[in-house]
């Protein structure tokens, strides 16, 4: 079953074409990776899917509903975490989770916070202020926030970017577990090729605002006669030398 269907999305910022004719779909429980060099348009694409950026053209349907016209219903069923957002620092972990449980209209916020604390092993951090936490701990709290409404689709923009290899690995295992056990779909960007290879059912490569290659990790390495996804990445990224590098 398709839960997300984006067709021919486009977004320009002044002279910059950030996203051009991007179409993608996500099926229930699928983990989809979005890869590409800096400035390829990954975050812009995700932000359009989240209703943070209005596309210039194209359409976004989730759960059979048009995002623009059914914003509240759609946003109730998805969630988001990113390395570049933070949670209110002065609040304690349990307060943050309680607040977001309410912002998502959770029926029994207290019970839900209890479940999340359990799931993400946040017991000892419950009464700590968010600003006192390490990056890895914060990421865990962010993921708890992102799961607060039991989303059918999780949109994650470089969720492990600030983490050491060990913490990153734990988060990845957790994400895979959450996806597999509960059938949540994920759309994830990352610059960590092993991560993507390990987690994603399908991968889209973006370059200069377009999707230039799609497939499973195995299919992509095959098509590009590469030994690893990293090599695919380099081939794809360097295939268009006119793409401005930051």
């Amino acid at each position: 079953m398709t839960i997300l269907e984006a067709t021919a999305l486009a977004k320009r910022f002044g002279a910059v074409t950030a996203v051009h004719e991007v179409s993608l779909d996500v099926g229930a429980g699928e983990i989809i990776g979005l890869l590409g060099p800096n400035g390829a348009g990954k975050s812009t694409t995700l932000h359009m899917l989240l209703g943070l950026i209005t596309p210039d053209s194209g359409s976004i349907r989730m759960f059979g509903l048009d995002l623009e016209r059914h914003r509240i219903e759609v946003l109730s069923r998805i969630n988001f975490a990113a390395s570049y957002v933070d949670l209110p620092g002065v609040l304690q972990v349990r307060e943050v989770l309680d607040v977001f449980a309410r912002l998502y209209g959770v029926r029994d916020p207290k019970a839900r916070v209890g479940e999340l604390v359990e799931l993400l092993d946040l017991g000892p951090l419950r009464k700590r202020k968010v600003m006192e936490l390490s990056s890895g701990q914060r990421t865990r709290v962010q993921l708890a926030k992102a799961l607060v409404n039991e989303p059918s689709l999780l949109i994650l923009d470089e969720p492990t970017a600030n983490l050491d290899p060990d913490a990153g690995d734990r988060i990845r295992s957790l994400l895979v577990r959450v996806a597999r056990e509960n059938g949540r779909a994920m759309l994830i960007t990352s610059h960590n090729m092993q991560e993507v290879e390990r987690m994603c059912d399908r991968i889209h490569f973006m370059s200069a605002g377009r999707i230039v290659a799609s497939g499973s990790a195995a299919e992509l390495t095959d098509v590009y006669s590469a030994d690893s996804l990293e090599e695919v990445f380099l081939k794809v990224a360097r295939a268009r030398p006119e793409v401005a590098r930051p």
Partner: protein
């Protein structure tokens, strides 16, 4: 579409009430965890009250004929306007400062629910601050808020509503022009100060400014306040006109806020705050 289990149905009243409650709780928790801000709620009003209180003491000692209550009453009611305005903008700016804006913006909270949440919380804070000030005014200067008579509630209500409108304009300015427009959010309310005849009757203003003043709900509140403190009746007709103005401005500024939010989304501004 599979039914939602853990959450209320998103468009129903229980979901809306829960989401608004989330906004209020967030602000309340932030306040509780930040003693400096608790202190600030009463700090500025107290300072203003002291300064103007001593001014009245001095003027009286100089045998200047005037009504003490005019000044103390004005200081009290001015705080209602200023706080209502600033509290709304602060609540919004805090999301920007703590890089939490995107989390709020991708939640199913609607614009109206968000504004209602901000308004409810600012209402609580204003009432608390005014209660503290009213106590001090009584203790220091023997001024009781009961001197406003039946005007007390409509005076405060009109200033609150006008303050919220100003706060929404401040937020809208930040959404439209970026973080530097914070200055507008802080200072807009002070544009009203000279115009609304807070510490003096509007008659002292030049004619053109008097015309402008007539369109500010606050002007009618402060004029009404002086009438009441002078022993006159509450000018209900004038307050009704002020209420029409205040409601009109609130509706208009809500529209402006919704428009600037659409602008920010279409220009990709939401993800660019704090950079």
């Amino acid at each position: 579409m599979t039914p939602l289990t853990v959450t209320h149905s998103p468009l129903g009243l229980p979901a809306r009430v829960t989401r608004i409650g989330g906004v209020v709780r967030r602000d309340f928790a932030a306040l509780r965890r930040s003693p400096i801000r608790m202190f600030e709620i009463v700090f500025w009003p107290t300072i203003e009250l002291l300064v103007w209180g001593f001014v009245t003491v001095f003027l009286q000692s100089q045998q200047v004929p005037f009504v003490v209550a005019f000044l103390i009453g004005a200081v009290l009611l001015w705080q209602v306007l200023q706080k209502a305005s600033n509290e709304i903008s602060i609540a919004f700016l805090e999301d920007i400062w703590s890089r939490n804006l995107l989390n709020v913006q991708v939640s199913p909270l609607s614009t109206v629910e968000y504004v209602i949440g901000l308004i409810l919380f600012s209402f609580g804070k204003v009432v608390f601050a005014i209660a503290v000030m009213a106590g001090l005014a009584l203790a220091f200067y023997g001024f009781g808020v009961t001197s406003f008579g039946a005007g007390l509630v409509p005076f405060m209500a009109l200033l609150l509503v006008m303050g919220w409108s100003l706060g929404l304009v401040g937020i809208s300015a930040v959404l439209r022009f970026g973080e530097n427009a914070q200055v507008i959010a802080w200072s807009l309310v002070f544009v009203v100060q000279p115009l609304a005849g807070i510490f003096y009757p509007v008659d002292v203003l030049p004619e053109p400014l008097q015309a402008v003043a007539a369109f500010l709900p606050a002007t009618h509140v402060f004029t009404g306040m002086r009438t009441v403190l002078d022993g006159g009746a509450v000018p209900w007709g004038e307050l009704a006109w002020a209420a029409v103005l205040a409601a009109g401005y609130l509706a208009a500024t809500l529209g402006v806020f919704a428009w600037t939010l659409r602008y920010a989304r279409s220009h990709g501004k939401l993800s660019r705050f704090g950079e």
